[in-house]
């Protein structure tokens, strides 16, 4: 089976008004949600942070910057996308740089990918989504998780028109 983004988005993996002091704390909080639901092992947090230091994942999207931290599937049990809307932005290194260029990131899309071959379609959907300024603006002002899910579903539907 090939997954679409909606298949991998669960309400328990969406976090609103996340209070994180820095990028590492944000990654720890989001991976904790995946560990709690059994989608990842505790070591996944370390994997993601190590990878983030070597290959930063901040992206200068509009109207707010985002980050898409991820890691190898070693400590992933089930694929999932975890979304964290931050209460206050934190610095992530910009993708394609050595991390010395920093971006103040408002939304983190943490990807746990188990079977890379089956998730190409999902990742391409995500790449399309994050290029929608209307969606990102909607996410930072969303009131609750359901609104986040609705906004994503709406944006995906519009892409298919």
């Amino acid at each position: 089976m090939h997954y679409t983004l909606v298949d991998l988005l669960k309400s328990e993996h969406i976090m609103m008004a996340v209070q994180a002091a820095d990028a590492k704390a944000a990654i720890e909080l989001l991976t904790a949600a995946l560990v709690e639901s059994g989608y990842a092992e505790p070591e996944f947090s370390v994997d993601v942070w190590k990878r983030e230091l070597a290959f930063p994942t901040g992206l200068p999207t509009q109207p707010v910057a985002i980050a898409i931290p991820h890691a190898d599937p070693d400590h992933v049990n089930n694929s999932a996308v975890c979304i964290g809307v931050l209460a206050t932005p934190v610095e992530f290194g910009q993708m394609g740089t050595d991390g010395s260029i920093k971006l103040l990131v408002n939304i983190v899309f943490l990807l746990a990918i188990k079977e890379r071959e089956k998730q190409v379609a999902m990742i391409q959907q995500l790449i399309t989504l994050i290029q929608s300024p209307a969606l990102l603006a909607g996410l930072i002002s969303a009131k609750d998780k359901n609104q986040v899910l609705d906004l994503i579903q709406q944006t995906l539907n519009e892409e298919h028109k």
């Binding site: 990878r51 070597a54 290959f55 994942t57 898409i68 991820h70 190898d72 993708m95 394609g96 740089t97 990807l111 990918i113 890379r116 071959e117 998730q119 190409v120 379609a121 990742i123 391409q124 790449i127």
Partner: protein
């Protein structure tokens, strides 16, 4: 450290199955491998990350540059270049 430039000739570019195959192959090497899309003047990204590869937006006829650094760098570059230039067959 070695570099190599290749032209992508398959119809879908580095998307879908070819992107996944490229990353799977790259992940098998010990060397650190980076890739950039010369045609769109992208930054260097990790060749072992499917997300990074898809973000590169490599389409048919785009030129990509590979860079590998490590013990098996030569084999890594040769293998990945062969994959790209073989139309992912």
């Amino acid at each position: 450290m070695i570099n190599s430039i290749s032209k992508v000739i398959n119809d879908v570019g580095l998307h879908a199955r070819p992107a996944a195959e490229f990353v799977k192959l790259a992940s098998g090497f010990q060397a650190s491998i980076k890739v950039r899309n010369l045609t769109s003047a992208s930054a260097w990204v990790d060749a072992k990350s499917i997300i990074s590869i898809l973000m590169l937006g490599v389409s048919k006829d785009h030129e990509v540059e590979l860079m590998a650094d490590g013990l098996d760098e030569e084999l890594a570059i040769t293998t990945l270049r062969n994959l790209i230039e073989s139309n992912f067959k």
